[in-house]
């Protein structure tokens, strides 16, 4: 019954949309992937490289199962999957309904789309006509203009216009008369009046005479486009395709700020050599317009000096952007590193920044790598640029001031602007039409503790539609959104697309492997509980192991510091305990595991009996979710104690929550960020400490506004919308003092309190305070042990967290997709991120367990059993543990979920029994031969 198959509409074909679609398709649901542009891939199809690998890894997103159903193998070329219907160049006309039954209508732009909706613009001012024409053409509408009412009437007689936008006050015939005449010629013409503020009355009058609406000058492009979109949608509604879906995922992304908007202080578009980071990315690209030659756009000479400017249209009230765009710092770090290392002629690469936001577990090390490669990082904001009139080769003089007040000037050939992310016109319109709750800036606001849920049931959101996001957070969020859609479809009683195993040949059937039905979740914190609940809700058995005697993990001490977390934790704990598919094993740990991946038998033993080899219960499971969490990093050396006022962030949170702070008289409090973090030994940013410190600082200020609160920081890590908290704290009078490593404030413990002394970098003066409390933000240490990771063939990364298959593209799984991780053992992050990764891990687990049996694909290695002598050489050679001897049939088998198709087995096999399709000996030898003989 086709109509009973679960179906989801995904709006937006960027990486978030692709990820969510692939997850749903893999799980066996049908997807309509809708995209306004003429291709999928979004922004990422224009980026050749991503950090930290400095390569493109987009194809790593492709599914590990049913690989033959996906084509092509490069996502930047496009996407095809049996279960995904891709509709590019498509406009959404309307969307109504409720979870389990949404009616969606949409139309292809090429098929009676925007081309069929010509617009006539009538205005006596050339600048208005031209700019309107440009805006509308860019959106795909055919546009004609007329400078007077008379010309307009001539055009209307010949052309078949759907909409007319007309000025009211024009020499000769005015707009209102034109309206009446036009309606005589074409009664169904939609007419929009354009008017200055002063003449709104006339416009209202015109509406009585049949005008559809009016726009007040000066208008912004978005308002014009929304108006024309409305007319267009009404006009084509009868041609639109109508479909029914169960759930909707909004993945429309964001748009970039246009640096030539507003005051354009950096002269983008005026000064040759000022480019955006996207344009620069294309200059670096193999497939870019310059063919990778990094040359000046005007002089054509090799570029030697490049500057990057951060926060263009981010963290800037003047451009209406009080938030941080979260991704631009790392984009610039990446680009500067690439420019410096790939091009010997680049002698100077210099990044001008306010705070270098290298949040997350891999970013900080990457920035240091750039620094080591010779990239200069300058903490300064350049106020504006002017073309260098006297400089040779059109070099641009850049002037900035360092903290001490010294004025500096350097010449640069290229200035790369890092423009921020803003909500786009489609999102603004969608939010309005669907009455979604949005934040002050127009991004969709997720429901509390449900990272992918919007305020409308059944409509989910992911990616930058919910605020500026990087690849990693987008991909995680998209998989979490896919889980939410799966839950809706399961709730509506929908089925999966028929399993493909019935179509497999008997040979393949025999080569298939199956998983034990059930999941093992290790760790009973909020991540583990969320994952366990989501998996169990989809009908699978879950064993939840927790080493302490209670569930809740870190949220137990943190719950009072996060609004609503107290109730949320209670609910989740009650739900887990009441669930009949979840077996909770508190005071237990995983002692050892036997069996192949996917057919694990793990022995759980009470913590105290872990050494006893015979104790404990064996659990059979097909997937494992590691959610062991983490702890606040402890002191690396003996430190003064609480008598002198020293507290860690966690200890101080407990003081605050217990109302144990006597703030009757104003206190002096110093908060010390990055204490032991982002330096050798713990080279990563824990992402949570800056927001937590801001929260604590504001709590102290609200206890007593006269309390002196000083936050010592290296870079305030308040990416995305959390920037608002940083601004709020400054408003409340919290003082922020930046410090550099090696020049940290001096803490001298005294009997009661601590003397803090420092040199203010801007005042250049020695400052001091007698602090009642010194709060050390130490960051998070992973709780994942090597032994546990190795038990499931996974590993730890350099920082001690779970080593993902790919930090950006496969963020919640190990190389073996059956080994999943979530929460802060995966990476340090906020509660929202933990919940997103937990739901993403659950989505992955559900689609694996739902499929159960997996068959080899064209890309995986195969075995010609007749030639195989079971010599085991290939088993030892395989780096992915994908080959094993099936004890039942005594044949060598390949695990299709683990095999990466690398071909090492084929090279190692002495008898030619291991083969990889398409990589047989003769063609490979020819390829190698050709490569060796090719002229360099």
């Amino acid at each position: 019954m086709t109509d009973q198959i679960g179906k989801t509409l995904v709006i937006g074909g960027g990486i978030s949309g692709i990820r969510a679609s692939l997850d749903l398709a893999q799980a066996g649901f049908q997807v309509i992937l809708m995209e306004q542009a003429d291709r999928v891939g979004g922004l990422l199809s224009q980026l050749d490289t991503q950090f930290p690998t400095s390569t493109c890894g987009m194809c790593r997103m492709l599914p590990m199962m049913d690989r033959d159903h996906v084509d092509p193998q490069c996502l930047r070329r496009g996407l095809a999957h049996d279960n995904i219907e891709i509709c590019v160049s498509t406009d959404l006309i309307s969307l109504t309904g409720e979870p389990g039954h949404f009616t969606v209508s949409f139309i292809a732009q090429t098929d009676g789309g925007r081309q069929e909706c010509p617009v006539l613009v009538v205005d006596d001012e050339k600048i208005v006509r031209d700019s309107m024409k440009e805006w509308l053409r860019e959106e795909g509408y055919p546009v004609q203009t007329a400078e007077s009412a008379a010309t307009a009437l001539e055009l209307l007689k010949t052309g078949n216009f759907k909409a007319m936008l007309t000025d009211i006050k024009m020499p000769g015939m005015d707009g209102v008369t034109l309206l009446t005449r036009a309606k005589e010629i074409q009664p169904d013409l939609a007419v929009v009046m354009m008017t200055a503020y002063a003449a709104v009355d006339t416009a209202v009058e015109a509406m009585k005479q049949g005008a559809l609406d009016y726009l007040v000058k000066p208008f912004d492009p978005d308002a014009v486009l929304l108006m024309v979109d409305r007319i267009y949608k009404d006009a084509v509604a009868q041609n639109a395709r109508i479909d029914t879906v169960d759930a909707v995922i909004l993945a429309t992304g964001a748009t970039f700020f246009h640096p030539d908007q507003g005051i354009n202080a950096y002269g983008y578009g005026r000064i040759p050599g000022v480019v955006t980071n996207l344009e620069f990315e294309r200059m670096l690209s193999h497939a870019g317009p310059g063919g990778m030659d990094l040359t000046h756009p005007v002089t054509g000479r090799p570029v030697t000096r490049i500057a990057w400017f951060q926060c263009v249209g981010s963290r800037d009230i003047q451009t209406g952007t009080p938030f941080c765009s979260a991704t631009c710092c790392m984009i610039s770090v990446k680009q500067s590193l690439l420019a410096k290392t790939m091009y010997p002629h680049v002698t100077e690469a210099c990044v001008f920044y306010m705070d270098l936001r290298t949040w997350g577990k891999a970013s900080d090390a990457y920035a240091r790598q750039a620094e080591a490669a010779g990239v200069r990082f300058v903490r300064a904001r350049v106020h504006s640029l002017a073309p260098g009139l006297k400089e040779p080769d059109g070099a641009i003089p850049v002037v900035w001031m360092d903290p001490s007040g010294e004025r500096n000037q350097s010449l640069f050939d290229l200035v790369v602007l890092a423009p921020g992310q803003h909500p786009d016109a489609f999102l603004t319109g969608f939010v309005k039409d669907q009455e979604l709750t949005a934040d002050d800036w127009g991004f969709v606001r997720p429901e509390p503790f449900l990272p992918a849920h919007t305020s409308r049931p059944g409509i989910f959101a992911c990616g930058s539609a919910t605020g500026p996001k990087d690849i990693h957070d987008s991909v995680t969020g998209a998989t979490a959104a896919a889980l939410s859609a799966m839950q809706v479809m399961a709730g509506a009683g929908r089925h999966l697309v028929q399993n493909s195993e019935q179509t497999e040949s008997p040979v393949q059937q025999a080569a298939g492997i199956s998983l034990f039905p059930g999941a093992l979740v290790i760790g009973g914190g909020i991540a583990g509980m969320t994952a366990a609940l989501a998996i169990a809700d989809q009908g699978f058995e879950v064993d939840l192991v927790e080493k302490t005697d209670h569930l809740g993990g870190n949220l137990v001490w943190l719950k009072k510091g996060i609004q609503g977390a107290d109730d949320f934790l209670e609910q989740q704990m009650a739900a887990v305990q009441a669930h009949d598919r979840i077996r909770i094993h508190t005071r237990n740990c995983a002692a050892e595991t036997t069996g192949r991946p996917g057919r694990w038998i793990t022995r759980l033993t009470p913590v105290e009996d872990a050494v006893d080899q015979s104790a404990g219960v064996p659990v059979r499971h097909g997937v494992v979710v590691l959610a062991v969490g983490g702890v606040e990093a402890g002191p690396d050396a003996p430190e003064p104690d609480q008598k002198s006022g020293f507290y860690t962030q966690q200890q101080f949170q407990q003081l605050l929550d217990g109302n144990d702070i006597d703030s009757g008289s104003p206190l002096q409090v110093a908060l010390f960020q990055c204490h032991g973090s982002r330096e050798p030994g713990r080279e990563y940013c824990s992402r949570v400490c800056c927001p937590r410190s801001l929260d604590q600082a504001m709590q102290l200020k609200s206890l007593n506004p006269d309390t002196r609160v000083v936050i010592f920081y290296r870079d305030m890590m308040t990416p995305g919308l959390t920037e608002a908290d940083y601004t709020e704290a400054r408003k409340k009078g919290v003082v922020f003092v930046p410090y550099e490593p090696g020049n940290a404030p001096n803490l001298a413990a005294e009997d009661t309190g601590c003397k803090v002394t420092w040199t203010d970098p801007i005042l250049g003066r020695a400052m001091e305070m007698d602090a009642d409390y010194v709060i050390l933000a130490k960051g998070i240490r992973s709780g994942l042990s090597k032994d546990l990771a190795h038990m499931f063939e996974a590993d730890l990364d350099g920082s001690g967290f779970f080593d993902q298959a790919d930090i950006k593209w496969r963020p919640v799984e190990a190389m073996d997709p059956r080994v999943l991780a979530c929460g802060i053992c995966l990476e340090p992050g906020s509660l929202a991120l933990t919940l997103a990764s937990a739901r993403a891990a659950a989505a992955k687990a559900v689609s694996l367990l739902g499929r159960q049996t997996f068959f080899p694909s064209q890309d995986t290695a195969r075995v010609r059993s007749a030639f195989c002598s079971l010599c085991r050489i290939c088993i030892d050679a395989c780096p992915f543990n994908a080959r094993f001897i099936d004890p039942e049939t005594r044949t060598l088998k390949v695990d299709p979920l683990a095999c990466q198709g690398c071909g090492i087995c084929a090279a190692a096999c002495p008898s030619g029994a291991a083969v990889v399709a398409g990589r047989s000996l003769a063609p490979m030898m020819k390829t190698i031969h050709a490569a060796l003989n090719a002229p360099l």
């Binding site: 963290r315 306010m354 300064a380 203010d760 801007i762």
Partner: protein
């Protein structure tokens, strides 16, 4: 020396303390990015960059604020206000500091204060500036013979080019009195 001097004077004037607190509140969201200082055309002549000035305001270092000439050198060109990413009213805040400094009547601003006063009185009286008279009144007000001496060279040059008119053309009284009164009233409110 300055520290106690300024602090004492401020303590005696709660209205000015309040005024300063308002300036501090206006500037609270400053992120010390330095855009104001690098965009300021006069920054090179200031003993302290605008950024340092705001930092001193925000950290309550009134001694540093009022031992500097920075706000006196503000030309009110508004470039910093246009460029500030936090959208702070920097030029206006400079003007507020000027007002506080005038009201405190500190010695170090004596010349600036007297000059501004002579200028405004002149405008008020005639509706325009009569340079010769304004300078004469300014010299009388500073009560320091070294000041007129320092202008002698410039005076001679101007006189040689017939730019100085020792005999005033007769002008009637200006009509700006009510405007000044209104402004004072509004400021008090």
């Amino acid at each position: 020396m300055h520290l106690t001097d300024i602090r004492e004077k401020l303590a005696a004037r709660p209205d000015l303390t309040r005024h300063l607190a308002q300036v501090k509140e206006q500037m609270a969201t400053c992120i010390q990015c330095g855009t104001c200082s690098s965009s300021c055309p006069n920054a090179g002549f200031m003993d302290m960059t605008p950024r340092r000035m705001w930092r001193a305001v925000l950290t309550d270092r009134v001694d540093m604020v009022f031992s500097s000439q920075t706000f006196m050198l503000c030309a009110s060109c508004y470039v910093c206000t246009l460029r500030c990413p936090r959208g702070l009213p920097l030029t206006d805040a400079m003007a507020e500091l000027k007002q506080v400094a005038f009201a405190l009547d500190l010695d170090r601003f004596r010349r600036s204060t007297r000059f501004y006063r002579a200028f405004m009185d002149n405008i008020r009286q005639y509706g325009r500036v009569r340079e010769t008279e304004m300078m004469a009144r300014y010299f009388l007000a500073v009560k320091d013979p070294r000041v007129p001496m320092s202008y002698t060279g410039m005076g001679i040059k101007l006189m040689a080019k017939h730019k100085l008119h020792p005999h005033f053309p007769t002008l009637g009284p200006g009509r700006l009195g009510p405007l000044f009164e209104r402004a004072t009233q509004q400021q008090e409110q």
